[in-house]
Symmetry: C2
Subunit: 430 residues, 2 copies
């Protein structure tokens, strides 16, 4: 058993410190319950800006906030770092990396992970972009390839090291492609004057016939137009069949030769084992309108992982931060009602619209009520919404000042290749 | 051969982008020479603040600056990332991680590395603090130990995970000990309310009979007094005989039980192989008053690695940033004179004094002319000098705003444990 004080209070275990989990836990602080939050990391990640860490615009500390700090001074609150492997909803106990713990109420808020759709060659060689260490790895990888490009005399290798392909035309794919286009235009040519940047190709591949599938046709067309301005080639109706670390084979057209394939083509639920089979559907956890997990007792799921189907959302809600935040909010209220033996309130999603930035002065925004626009004003809105959404006042200041700096200097500050340190005595001395 | 354009200009190879190398290269920009700078990293590290990265006060990008960015827009300038293994001063060629390259003039500015004095158990288990990845590793290690302390029920293990020992009472050892004392006092107890911080012991071990050996007796005594205020126990005349990762055996008194031993007890020269044996002395490279390496032609050494002995400095100059910067400055002038066939100017060290900070409002400063003082004013001077010395305007702003934030909030922002990402398919699933 993991040592957590045994009290007479009911114990709520929350798995996952993402948008849903943090929102929930913060709203539980005045209740007479013991809360134990589990996360495999000791920090919350603001995923919408992860791509800026990968493209040298921000450092990790700007988009991450230590979970213990956020939840300081909360009575009866405990954080435990460790991955949760499985849950036993009969015995009401979870099994984790650091031991077992029993619960009275369980909340699963484990979010989503990269979905490779079973393609092993892509899983082995492509770069996903869901976690901070992945973003840092990608950044170092891209910069190391540019260093390598300066010392090769093989023109094919040089191109392969400079080229970058991004798979998936959703917000992440579009945003990372645009940011790479900016790097190509404004930053890298100054750093690498010896390289010919006409040789560098950034390609965005999307399986469907439009970008930003969840957005309006006008926003999707605008995004396509903006990406062209940033010198990103977009291939629609195109799938990657395999990728060996150098050559990406497509379902149609020529292979793409690149050392860097970024995989942003899909996500799937990331849930612990042990849930009733009937509770799993389409790779997510089936919940009712109160976020209660099907065929279990006192188990809830919120955020990306929760599949709540209704007439308006027959495939569940979109896997977006606003849904997670609203579900975290509601579940805090419902846990209070549960303790007071009051009837629970059903979830009603308030659609706040969606948006994506492409690069300097360019974004697209869809607001409820068919309000669609792009360009500079959309870009300002995008920045404002992201700034107020980041958790932690310090992070807001850092991100804001980095953006101001990057905007006016046309520079990205954090182009460091942080490689694992190898002690001198373990190095090959040739 | 590493591809670098062959021109009619003389080629100067500079090995190392530390204080000496960067200062030199920046001053070479108007000369009719081709400059090729080698470094194993793509960034310059501001080593005096490395301890703040290790103790969660700063992120790496605040104290590092991409070398290519610093040297942008310089004609005939090339950067190559790669470690230099050896030099052949007869054939005038260097051999590196990425290939070979010939030179007309060679400048060795490779600095120093951690000296374990041949103690294998310490080399295997202690944490050095000379490079950014080491600082990040140390930070994650300390925080992971606190997470582990919250889940152990063994009181001995709990103490061992909370305790920290620092070996070496020079500026690095004193500064890291003071910063850890601040963390213990102001930051960690809020993060880990379940732990009893009376159980945490920070111990600073020094082999000699005083701290800050290079400074005045009054500064050394002040540092001792300040460290006590930050709850750091100082053991003078004490050596570590061995360390297995849990128990540090001392030459005198009780063993220290700790999962974290920071090794700041010494440095040694970090030079490529192949120099004439007669040019190596006391682990550094013997140079004359013009920084020319003994028994070689057109080879220079500057900074920590250079051993320039004279009557005032029979053991060479102190291994400090001001010496490196002044030697880089002078060598730029001398290379110019060499090309113009003018006589070279000898090096004269201008002692700018020395200083160390212990923590909030507490530092010690020795200025030339027997000017010694400590406390708040010394602390302001320390901050000012470090801010103006950091390379890069952006870094100055970031460091300054972080310091202001940390000072007024009594907080350290960057308490992230960044662990290597392990793909889901490679994880043990228990």
């Amino acid at each position: 058993m993991i040592p957590v004080p045994e009290t007479s209070l009911p114990r709520v275990i929350v798995i996952g410190g993402g948008f849903a989990g943090v929102k929930l836990v913060k709203n539980l602080k005045k209740l007479p319950i013991q809360v134990v939050l589990f996360d495999r990391n000791n920090y919350h990640t603001f995923q919408p800006l992860l791509y800026q860490v990968a493209t040298a615009g921000l450092e990790p500390d700007s988009i991450a906030d230590p979970l213990r700090k956020q939840l300081e001074l909360m009575k009866y609150f405990y954080f435990r770092m460790g991955e949760v492997y499985s849950v036993d909803t009969k015995l009401k106990v979870i099994d984790t990396e650091i031991g077992q713990l029993n619960y009275d109420y369980l909340v699963i808020a484990t979010g989503s992970k990269t979905n490779y759709f079973g393609n092993q060659s892509i899983m082995d060689n492509a770069f996903p972009l869901k976690q901070i260490p992945q973003a840092l790895d990608l950044r170092s990888h891209i910069l190391q390839n540019f260093e390598a490009a300066t010392i090769t005399t093989d023109p094919v290798e040089m191109k392969s090291r400079m080229n970058i392909a991004i798979v998936g035309g959703g917000p992440t794919g579009v945003e990372v492609a645009g940011a790479l286009g900016e790097l190509k235009k404004n930053v890298l040519p100054d750093d690498y004057p010896e390289l010919d940047f006409d040789q560098m190709h950034i390609t965005l591949l999307e399986g469907a016939d439009k970008l930003l599938g969840g957005m309006s046709a006008s926003s999707s067309n605008r995004a396509l137009k903006y990406l062209k301005k940033f010198d990103v080639e977009v291939k629609l109706n195109t799938l990657v069949k395999s990728y060996d670390g150098n050559v990406a084979k497509l379902n149609v057209g020529d292979d793409i030769v690149t050392h860097t394939l970024i995989w942003a083509a899909g996500v799937e639920g990331n849930f612990p084992k042990g849930l009733p089979e009937t509770a799993i559907s389409h790779g997510r956890i089936s919940v009712d309108h109160f976020n209660q997990v099907k065929d279990t007792e006192n188990v809830f799921a919120i955020g990306d992982i929760a599949l709540m189907q209704d007439e308006i959302h027959p495939k569940g809600h979109p896997m977006l931060a606003p849904v997670a935040i609203q579900q975290g909010d509601l579940l805090a209220k419902n846990l209070k009602r549960l303790i007071k033996k009051q009837p629970l309130l059903p979830f009603k999603y308030k659609d706040k619209g969606s948006m994506a930035t492409i690069g300097r002065n360019k974004a697209v925004v869809d607001l409820p009520g068919n309000l669609r626009f792009g360009g500079f004003f959309a870009w300002l809105i995008w920045m404002f919404v992201h700034l107020i959404s980041i958790i932690g006042f310090r992070n807001r200041i850092i991100v804001f000042s980095n953006w101001v700096w990057n905007y006016f200097t046309y520079d990205k500050g954090t182009r460091l290749i942080i490689r694992k340190f190898i002690p001198n005595n373990q190095k090959s001395t040739k």
